[in-house]
Assembly symmetry: C2
Homo-oligomer: 392 residues x 2
């Protein structure tokens, strides 16, 4: 059957191997769309690096059985760092994304980059030692920060809750202590990577929506993070929604999604009606106690979010939307509101195969994603020779 | 300076060469992020195919001057086909995207795939002959259709204005007559490719918005067309806008952008006030005559469109939005409305470097894009060996 050919990339080959399933060169060529000669050269390259290994041959099909290869997940480890407003988590993962060791520390991001990154570097080194691994087994470091990041340089740009971090050279600072490639991205983007790797590895078009103190989305399209021209793609917190267009938002505009549907916004509304709520955590508690007005407020927040996600579905045509963040702890009511609006408003073709689900990584999407950011880099042979060299 | 490494693809190498500027292997390695050995192998491969050629050496820098390479635009040609509701345009282009010959015919898409594609194939062959080229110089065919396309197979899916085309195997049918790869996509997607190639070759994040009988967007992100899980990405015509949420839309919902801001929608509104307008062309005429109410209606349509584009900017962070389609002929008023809303509502970081411009391809974006779709395929060596073989 003739097909509409699409441009396959070399990275696809290693995405294929990452699941640990052994494959032959011919299978890799077919599934990736790469030329057999290209596949053969890449396989040799990855073998030389020890990143993949030969496995028991496939059953003979009459001729000589072809050799199979699979990822060697323990060839290297990576360090993932999730920097939050008040806590930082550091994890060591193998190349399959399995967390081998993890530690969370109370660490205000407002203490500035050197304090926070210093703690993260020290904790990472200590976790690697605790695993009886030498430092040269670390292939890369992934870092997630709670703010926008200029992608080509890995520097935070005007991050509202990160005093002292504006344009700080995160990769450069970390590389003074750990001489490997350092990848930096914002926490919602890497949460999308983490949730996908952990729960939805075969989904190529998804949005991870974090609803907590703020609201933001990480978008994966055609299997790749979508960052946009300045790295602000997915910044949906300040999209205007129809309800209460007069509610002021700290951004200077009115009627923003974040001013209506974030944890603090729902708490404000409930407090104005006399309920004991000053933040998102209080809202979650009220909902867990079965407070009807809290449940209704969360559901309405879901509808407001659903309004923005409806437009997102039209624009991006994802097959999965995952709702995460602190407010996902009352996920069923939030998601009910989202579904109510999205399934009413989107076109049949876009919603027919659309799943809207609660995050299953229980707050760990970002640290998993930070590790995946590092793994993806470690397994992209095209960029290895250049970027493993630290001078430029 | 340490940098945040990004995964460079092999395709990038040939994107670099496509501008015709001669480059050395070292320059290609540096600009693409590929290993020098990879670049050397790819250069050899493209030389063998005749797609690139050596050019006069760079000025000596003391040692032996390195060899330079550039695209050989006349090595092959491609055929681009833009199928519209009532007309079809066929063009022959070289590998630089320069149109060498072009013909437009009156051809209702409703006559069905065999009639329309048959005419296109015949016209393409006749244009190739008129250029004194043999058939084997044709490297690929790109086809744009006015409806959603299932990307992996190139088949239209439930196209509302294309009776008889649902799930028709467009690549398979065309390949019975022209034995080269056939790429199919919807007309708005390929318009984004065409506008970019013609006017904005260095912009990697852009939206092309077509405003005519319908409203749709083609999205390029990180230099690639964004299609989504079912190929419906950019389908913004049925997003709900705040104004007149009760206006019914043929899709079954109310308040859709298309029901308010498309050419026929503006015409309906003007007709209800007694002006002689039955379609978008009449609206354009009224505006050109300086009719104040028509101007105001077009500007309001721009504001409605701007509302949806504001959300698009938050989600996608493009650096360019191009407004095209039949209503772009009164572009200044339409764009004024778009700008009014987008620049009021988007965050500073997303709008600081955002350009909103009128299409400059004057209705030819789609045929240029159909040719580019074919050129991009012809210049992607990774997929050549597999997809140039027709059997599978």
């Amino acid at each position: 059957m003739p097909s509409n050919p699409s441009a396959g990339g070399v990275g696809e080959l290693f995405q294929l191997l990452r699941d640990g399933v052994p494959r032959t060169r011919a299978e890799l060529a077919k599934a990736s769309g790469l030329a057999r000669s290209t596949v053969a050269a890449r396989v040799d390259e990855l073998m030389d690096r020890g990143l993949i290994r030969p496995v028991a041959d496939a059953a003979s099909t009459g001729g000589r059985p072809p050799s199979q290869f699979a990822l060697n997940p323990s060839a290297k480890v990576v360090i993932g760092v999730d920097i939050g407003a008040s806590h930082t988590t550091v994890a060591v993962s193998d190349l399959a994304g399995t967390i081998l060791a993890e530690q969370t520390g109370q660490m205000e991001v407002a203490r500035g980059p050197e304090a926070v990154l210093g703690w993260a570097v020290e904790t990472g080194a200590s976790l690697v030692r605790s695993l009886d691994l030498s430092r040269d087994r670390v292939a890369a470091v992934g870092v997630g920060v709670p703010g926008p990041v200029e992608h080509p340089t890995g520097r935070p740009v005007n991050p509202p809750i990160m005093p002292g971090w504006d344009r700080f050279d995160v990769p450069g600072w970390v590389q003074q202590h750990v001489e490997v490639p350092v990848l930096v991205d914002n926490d919602v983007n890497i949460s999308a990577l983490g949730e996908r790797a952990f729960a939805w590895p075969n989904i190529d078009h998804l949005m991870f929506v974090k609803v907590g103190t703020g609201i933001g989305a990480g978008i994966i399209s055609h299997g790749q993070l979508l960052r946009g021209a300045q790295g602000t793609a997915g910044d949906i917190g300040h999209v205007r929604v129809a309800r209460s267009a007069d509610v002021p938002c700290p951004c200077g505009n009115r009627g923003c999604l974040e001013a209506l549907a974030s944890g603090p916004a729902i708490a404000r509304e409930l407090a104005s009606r006399g309920f004991p709520a000053s933040n998102g955590g209080d809202v979650v508690e009220l909902v867990k106690q079965g407070n009807l007005e809290a449940i209704q407020a969360v559901r309405q927040a879901g509808r407001d979010l659903g309004e923005v996600l409806t437009t997102s579905v039209s624009l991006l045509n994802p097959s999965l939307i995952v709702i995460g963040g602190a407010m996902a702890r009352v996920g069923e009511h939030l998601i009910a509101g989202v579904r109510e609006v999205v399934y009413t408003r989107t076109t049949p073709l876009a919603s027919e195969h659309l799943t809207i689900a609660q995050s299953v990584t229980a707050g760990r999407a970002a640290v998993l994603g930070a590790a995946m950011l590092a793994v993806e880099h470690a397994l992209s042979p095209d960029v290895l020779p250049q970027s493993f060299a630290l001078s430029s």
